[in-house]
């Protein structure tokens, strides 16, 4: 692979590139699903190719190819140079890159049990058993399960001298029970909705999730939701379970801090951000107990945003985003770092595949744990609603106003979790919401949730991101808006 990298860099240099970096990536994936006791998807895929990014005349060009031979990668490098020259026709300023040392390294992410080496029969057997356990509950009209595994090898080289190989294995699984009754559809998922839980790691995740144990409870809750009262429309105290809070962080902290959005580079598609440059170190983003970091280091945990180097060869870092409630940092790249006074990129450039350009992406954007236990938090709440497991999510294109709904909620009365509520939802404005946070549970209840489906860019790229969270409490939140008729 290094020969292809070296040859393409040399062709780019000879054709006038002042900077170039290249990624050869080998992606392998296995997808398994079941539905109603039968195998649904059963497939494997692999893809190998090369993408090269160049600066010529101060402008960017990128081209990719699956023709991994000297002629193929040379043509690809030449095409990238030609594209960069075309880009320079509509250039305002030359690209500036923050300096970064050259690294020669190889890194293997954690993976105790290679999921692609585990017999497929065992994987399907587990899914079919969990599927059957859900269907055994009367009232369940649809049962679904899934497992997904990705093995990503990447070879990065740059004209500055870096040569970095990384291997990451991502594993995920989940189960869903759906119940249709009368004029309503209710569902419950475990360990999370929309594909379950995903981590950087191997089959050990699947074993730890114990899908079989949770299947009956998931099914019973889906059926029971039909007879639960509707979540009221009110303003009040809200406690969010960890997985829902993970998505809340993703949408109302993770995306607004992407510096490309802030600088208008995503204005046509994903949108911009309310976190304009003047807000840095001035905005009270959240209450003083809130601390959020973007941490790609292994020390933070095996998340979907964990790596050793980003896709422009910058080592993984931990960046303060919100410190004691104050807004402290953006997600940056080598090209954008200088615009916020940084001498170095925050190391957040990531690409989905060899045929896609690296972009600023979330790493593991996590809310650091507080001091509460869930039991104490509920006991301390006289009147509130506990919501868990996302059902829908939406936020405006500058990331102010959001609305989430969850699969299930419980009423809290007099310090006790009481009856279930169906169709829960809540909404608010990002900074008002985060400033209303008055309790966060401790590290024993902190989970690094994986969001495998974050879409961004044109052409669209799907990326996995990590979000550490433990249950937390928010005051004076607008609840029940999704079903409001007012």
């Amino acid at each position: 692979m290094w020969d292809y990298c070296g040859h393409s860099l040399e062709v780019a240099r000879l054709r006038g590139a002042t900077y170039a970096d290249v990624r050869v990536m080998h992606l392998r994936q296995r997808d398994l699903t079941t539905k109603g006791g039968e195998v649904g998807t059963l497939g494997q895929s692999e893809s190998l190719g090369l993408g090269i990014r160049v600066v010529v005349n101060g402008a960017w060009g990128f081209a990719s190819t699956d023709q991994l031979a000297r002629e193929g990668v040379a043509a690809c490098a030449a095409q990238a140079v030609a594209i960069a020259k075309a880009s320079s026709l509509a250039k305002k300023e030359d690209v500036q890159l923050a300096s970064e040392a050259a690294y020669v390294d190889s890194w293997l992410g954690p993976c105790q049990k290679d999921p692609l080496e585990i017999p497929l029969e065992a994987q399907l057997d587990l899914l079919l058993k969990a599927d059957a356990a859900m269907r055994s509950v009367k009232g369940v009209t649809l049962s679904e399960t899934d497992m997904q595994f990705r093995k990503i090898d990447s070879w990065f080289a740059s004209s500055a001298g870096s040569k970095i190989h990384q291997r990451r294995v991502h594993s995920g699984c989940g189960i869903v029970a759906t119940s249709f009754k009368g004029d309503a559809i209710q569902k419950r998922s475990y360990p999370n909705s929309f594909g379950g839980q995903h981590i950087l790691g191997g089959y050990e995740l699947i074993e730890a999730m114990d899908l079989l144990k949770h299947a009956p409870q998931v099914a019973e809750e889906a059926v029971a939701l039909h007879s639960a009262p509707q979540c009221p429309q009110t303003r009040g105290t809200l406690i969010l379970g960890g997985s829902q809070l993970g998505l809340q962080i993703h949408e109302s902290v993770g995306h607004p801090i992407e510096l490309d959005r802030v600088l208008g580079q995503e204005a046509n598609f994903a949108g911009t951000s309310f976190l304009t440059l003047d807000q840095l170190n001035h905005l009270r983003y959240a209450s003083p107990i809130v601390n959020v970091v973007a941490d790609a280091r292994m020390a933070h945990g095996p998340g979907l945003g964990t790596f050793a180097y980003d896709d422009e060869g910058v080592p993984a870092q931990c960046i303060d985003i919100i410190k004691d409630g104050e807004f402290r940092g953006y997600l940056s790249s080598r090209e954008t770092a200088h615009l916020v006074g940084l001498h170095r990129s925050g190391g957040t450039m990531r690409t989905e595949s060899w045929n896609r350009l690296p972009m600023i992406r979330m790493t593991n954007v996590s809310l650091l744990p507080g001091a509460w236990t869930p039991e104490n938090l509920i006991a301390d709440t006289d009147d509130g609603i506990y919501m868990d497991t996302n059902r829908s999510w939406s936020i405006d294109d500058r990331r102010y106003q959001f609305q989430f709904s969850t699969e299930i909620a419980w009423e809290i009365k007099g310090g006790k979790k009481t009856r279930r509520l169906k169709n829960p939802s809540y909404s608010g404005m990002t900074t008002e919401f985060w400033n209303s946070c008055d309790a966060i549970c401790n590290a024993d209840h902190w989970v690094l949730w994986g969001t495998p489906n974050c879409g961004k860019g044109q052409p669209m790229q799907t990326m996995g991101t990590g979000h550490g969270a433990s249950p937390a409490r928010f005051r004076n939140v607008r609840i029940g808006t999704a079903f409001s008729k007012e």
Binding site: N355, D396, Y400, Q403
Partner: protein, 468 residues
């Protein structure tokens, strides 16, 4: 951009493309599929389906009145599905040397036999006949990076001359798909596609325009940019209105954004699984009488192959007839013995069955200016954003307005309004359509391309307002 200038630049592009990439010839892919089928047979795999996809695509992306991302890709994938003893599995690869293909076939066979027998699995279909569609426009395939960059430069110059900031994309590409199986089925399709999308920003106000077609000459990037520029200028200093129910005039992109979310509800498998909003409602007057929806890949405003994931010919299907959901789309499996498959099956194996992806919503005769002129008080909506399902059976969707929300008073657009969040049942919405405009091919970001009209709708529910 004048027609003469365009013709000249395309001619120049053709000569440049001599050194550029082109799709492989159909006979080359036919030969590849037959080679794989022979490998399967010699490897003891009695039934095999080969799906080859090739894509050449390029995107010129701009923001802050300059090109900031400019990319090109060329890739070919081979996807193999084998059927072994009543079981099936799929393996996809972009390695097409003989050893790699043989390994992929072995891998697919190994996956297939690792599962229980599937009693509902059908044998592969035999030869089919297809209605021809012509959606490959050489001029689009010849569009160069330089030609796109020059067009973008003009858009950026327009923005600068107006004191505005432009962001968007200009993309062009070509793709082909070939499907063959060991029972003699062979289907091939190729198309070109070009897309231009622009957001114009004036201060904190924005507006947007977008077009997508097989033929890049159908749209004019500069004209689209002028439209967005004029609307952005009108969108400044938005007033805040109270949330509530309003009469809305949805431009085609906003209609597409919402109606597109119904697509999977028309799948027979979704109805059988009782997760479709049409479960238990087929044949009943559910929507307004002025709503008729078909799925029609042959419509001149549509793109896409005339065959489905198993190679079955796509049929035109009337899904909603004057407000009554009448028909669903069927794969071979969901059709079972009683119904004929409609050619909407997804590539097997999958748990979703089928889906219509060429929706056509019948239009009317009322233009958007006429809708505005006939509205005493309402809102004109350019597009919608971040739409998600809140309630799957009542089909309540939430999302935001974006890039131009305007107040209409006494037949005129009077001022810009801050963006709203909506929580609105699509089924209710389609009961309340007061009038429709002519239907055209439309494109947005929340759903795939469709043929839709603008609509004037009563009692559209906005629940909250944002800060801009």
């Amino acid at each position: 951009m004048s027609k003469t200038k365009k013709s000249r630049s395309v001619s120049a592009n053709r000569s440049r493309r001599a050194a550029q990439e082109e799709l492989r010839r159909e006979r080359e892919l036919h030969s590849l599929t037959q080679r794989i089928l022979r490998l399967a047979k010699s490897g003891g795999i009695p039934e095999c389906e080969v799906h080859v996809e090739e894509i050449i695509d390029a995107v010129t992306r701009f923001a802050n009145n300059t090109i900031h991302q400019h990319v090109a890709e060329h890739g070919l994938t081979v996807s193999l599905r084998v059927v072994v003893d009543g079981r099936t599995a799929r393996v996809t690869t972009n390695h097409i040397d003989e050893d790699a293909l043989r390994a992929s076939l072995e891998s697919a066979a190994s996956l297939a036999v690792s599962q229980p027998k599937d009693a509902g699995l059908l044998p592969l279909p035999g030869k089919q006949k297809y209605r021809a569609v012509h959606r490959f426009i050489p001029a689009t395939s010849a569009l160069s990076a330089e030609a796109r960059a020059r067009a973008v430069k003009k858009v950026c110059s327009l923005a600068q001359s107006k004191g505005q900031v432009a962001a968007g994309i200009f993309s062009s590409g070509q793709s082909q798909t070939v499907l063959a199986n060991s029972r003699g089925l062979f289907a091939a399709y190729r198309q070109t596609q070009a897309e231009f999308s622009v957001t114009m920003q004036q201060g904190s106000a924005t507006s947007w325009a977008k077009a997508n077609d097989a033929n890049f000459r159908i749209f004019d990037p500069l004209a689209l940019s002028r439209t967005a520029s004029e609307k952005a200028a009108r969108a400044e200093n938005p007033a805040e209105l109270a949330p509530g129910s309003y009469t809305v005039i949805l431009e085609p992109a906003a209609v597409l954004d919402l109606v597109g979310f119904l697509f999977y509800d028309f799948a027979a498998t979704a109805v059988e699984d009782q997760r479709s909003c049409f479960a238990g409602r087929l044949g009943k007057p559910l929507l307004g009488k002025n709503i008729t929806i078909t799925d029609d890949v042959y419509h001149p405003g549509q793109l896409g192959a005339p065959f489905d994931g198993e190679g079955m010919p796509r049929q035109r299907v009337v899904l909603v007839d004057q407000g009554v959901p009448r028909n669903l789309v069927y794969s071979r499996r969901s059709a079972k013995a009683k119904i004929h498959p409609t050619g909407h099956g997804l590539a097997l194996p999958n748990e979703y069955g089928e889906a219509p992806v060429n929706l056509v919503v019948a239009g009317g005769k009322t233009s958007v200016p006429e809708m505005i002129a006939g509205t005493d008080r309402g809102l004109l909506v350019t597009r919608l954003w971040y739409i998600r399902e809140v309630d799957p059976y009542e089909k309540i969707m939430t999302g935001m307005t974006r890039d131009g929300l305007f107040l209409v008073e006494k037949g005129k657009v009077t001022r810009a309004i801050r963006n709203f969040r909506f929580n609105q049942s699509i089924l209710e919405m389609l009961k309340n359509v007061e009038c429709l405009g002519p239907a055209h091919r439309s494109t947005a970001e929340e759903s795939f391309e469709m043929v839709v009209p603008p609509m004037k709708i009563g009692n559209f529910h906005f629940s909250e307002v944002t800060k801009f």
